[in-house]
């Protein structure tokens, strides 16, 4: 079979004439052609067209007008709230997820805790979207269980004190429900990679627990932590369903704004929509570029 000749380290493959080698490599490329075509049609082309549309007016002429309009107060504030919620839920999710992973993996707890946490994290990190919003409304909404219990037993009125599930704090608290488990899943391998010998070596040299964390554990975990935080950030930034189900279209975040633009809830302006999408892709794209760069770095250090 001509296609397999290049993979076999036999003398014949080395002496194969150039035309048949070229044909073999063309055949090899045909093997991935369906995948590349699919990616082009349903992933790359739709995105690239939007990006191009951000620089066009309704007649298809080049313009920077859409980009300029991104700096309208309303849109800037939507980006700002989106960025804040994403950053808050990413940073808190990273820290709390790391703590949970450390406790379960290195805390000396019974052996069943770890697989239980991993399984639950698998479920919870996928329990996003609309059902999650319902769950938090039942918990911390005006009639929610926790709201009622606090009022009844501790005489604390959450909503009178300014809290609302529809607020920045409420949304961040809700997002943490899928951010923390995601962090546990991402960071578990790195936490596992902390070798017991390092701690022993640190102790035998007279180092305290603090010294171990400052000079050994944190520097080892740091790239994975920052990388995970960036991934969590992008995860929160792109979320639509949870916020939409919680707040309807009342909360001014970018995904809701874009949803309304596409859905035609507001004055329909496609090209402004393209610019909104461009801004989102730039933000999630740079977060992910940072993640990939850090992952490469931590892999190189581990090697």
């Amino acid at each position: 079979m001509s296609a397999s000749s290049e993979s076999m380290p036999t003398p014949t493959s080395r002496t194969a004439s150039p035309p048949s080698a070229a044909r073999a490599s063309l055949l090899s490329w045909l093997g991935v052609a369906p995948f590349l075509a699919f990616a082009l049609l349903f992933l790359i082309l739709p995105t690239v067209l939007l990006m191009a549309g951000a620089f066009q007016d309704a007649q298809g002429h080049f313009t920077l007008n859409n980009i300029v309009r991104l700096f309208d107060d309303n849109i800037v504030s939507a980006y700002k709230i989106s960025l804040e919620i994403s950053a808050a839920s990413a940073i808190l999710g990273t820290l709390l997820g790391l703590l949970l992973a450390l406790a379960a993996i290195r805390g000396g707890l019974p052996a069943w805790i770890r697989p239980t946490l991993t399984t639950f994290s698998g479920v919870a990190s996928n329990f996003a979207g609309i059902p999650l919003a319902f769950a938090f409304l039942s918990t911390l909404g005006r009639m929610g269980l926790v709201t009622m219990l606090l009022r009844k037993y501790l005489d604390v009125d959450l909503y009178a004190s300014g809290f609302s599930i529809l607020s920045f704090a409420g949304l961040t608290l809700t997002y943490l429900y899928f951010q923390i488990p995601l962090m546990v899943l991402i960071i578990a391998p790195a936490v596992e990679g902390l070798k017991d010998e390092w701690r022993e070596a640190c102790e035998s040299l007279g180092g305290s627990a603090l010294a171990y964390w400052r000079h050994i554990a944190l520097p080892v975990l740091w790239p994975s932590m920052v990388g995970a935080a960036l991934l969590l950030f992008a995860n929160a930034f792109g979320a639509v369903a949870t916020a939409y189900a919680l707040t309807g279209s009342s909360l001014n975040i970018v995904t809701i704004l874009l949803y309304a633009q596409i859905h035609g809830d507001v004055l329909h302006d496609q090209n402004l929509g393209y610019a909104l999408a461009l801004g989102m892709v730039l933000i999630t794209g740079s977060a992910n570029a940072g993640y990939i760069w850090l992952r490469k770095r931590s892999q190189r250090e581990a090697a």
């Binding site: 290049e6 993979s7 076999m8 490329w29 093997g31 991935v32 369906p34 590349l36 699919f38 049609l41 992933l43 739709p46 995105t47 067209l49 939007l50 549309g53 709390l96 703590l99 949970l100 450390l102 379960a104 290195r106 805390g107 000396g108 707890l109 946490l117 399984t119 698998g122 479920v123 996928n126 329990f127 979207g129 609309i130 059902p131 319902f134 769950a135 409304l137 039942s138 918990t139 269980l145 943490l176 429900y177 017991d196 701690r199 022993e200 992008a234 995860n235 792109g238 639509v240 369903a241 189900a245 309807g248 995904t255 949803y259 596409i262 859905h263 999408a277 892709v281 999630t284 992910n288």
Partner: protein, 266 residues
């Protein structure tokens, strides 16, 4: 070295607080879902939801779409991952990069692009009729599931000796189709199954794509009920959680069986 008593106490505190945060909303939702009747707890909300034709139709629609997504995803991903490992290892970083792109490009941006490219004014007006839109939705779901599905299959492939198996099959006279069907797929069964369950969990509650393509899926149904009813949303949240739990549980069972098999071999 064993953890000290204080660090173990800290670990317990972290686990207990964490469990509280994760269990409380579930308990609260469950409790709320039982309160539909004024005189005490009942499963009335579940009864209302489960007998609602809208629930049945949208859940069945999403389940069917999830199965189609899994099917298309497997047919797309398995041969590609196999071929890349066998013939084009140099392409691996590129393919991996492409499969991770759906994590970078938010779903809402993706579907916006679809509407422009495949909308009524586009070059291929898939959204012109319902079947076409369904097809577009399935392709969109395949795209969303790509990072998870590809990774599962690629990891599964790395665990077997693809080259030897392929060459053995070739020396016995098998063509590529037979190699994939008789050699690669059976060896990847567990990896494919775990990818499939995850895909199912992703598709069944998906809202953005289905809503903006205006298809009657479970996600938009959830949103509609949430906006109009009081107790049914809580019941639906519990049902959705159980479905996710079932999909993830099956995934765990499948991969544990694989781990057990692996342990036997050594």
């Amino acid at each position: 070295m064993k953890p000290t008593a204080t660090s173990r106490l800290g670990a317990w505190i972290a686990i207990v607080l964490g469990s509280g945060y994760f269990l409380l909303p579930l308990i609260a939702t469950f409790e709320f879902s039982l309160k539909m009747k004024r005189d005490g707890y009942s499963f009335e909300a579940y009864k209302t939801v489960l007998t609602d034709p809208g629930f049945q139709a949208s859940f069945a629609y999403s389940a069917l779409l999830a199965l189609l997504t899994i099917l298309v995803g497997i047919v797309l991903v398995v041969p590609t991952a196999f071929w890349v490992q066998l013939k084009l290892p140099r392409l691996r970083p590129l393919i991996e990069f492409i499969t991770l792109l759906p994590l970078v490009i938010p779903a809402i941006v993706l579907v916006f692009g679809y509407l422009r490219l495949y909308g009524s004014g586009g070059w291929l007006p898939l959204t012109g009729n319902e079947r076409g839109t369904d097809l577009l939705l399935v392709f969109g779901y395949v795209t969303l599931a790509l990072p998870y599905l590809y990774r599962a299959v690629d990891t599964g492939l790395s665990a077997i000796d693809v080259r030897s198996l392929t060459e053995a099959a070739q020396s016995l006279g098998s063509g590529w189709f037979d190699i994939l069907r008789l050699v690669i797929f059976p060896n990847l069964k567990t990896a494919i199954l775990s990818g499939a369950f995850l895909t199912f969990a992703i598709v069944i509650g998906e809202f953005t794509l289905a809503s903006l393509l205006a298809r009657p899926a479970f996600g938009p149904y959830l949103q509609l009920i949430g906006a109009n009813r009081a107790y049914e949303p809580a019941a639906l949240a519990i049902i959705a959680f159980l479905v996710t739990w079932a999909a993830m549980g099956l995934m765990q069972v499948v991969s544990r069986n694989r781990a057990a098999l692996g342990a036997d071999e050594h």
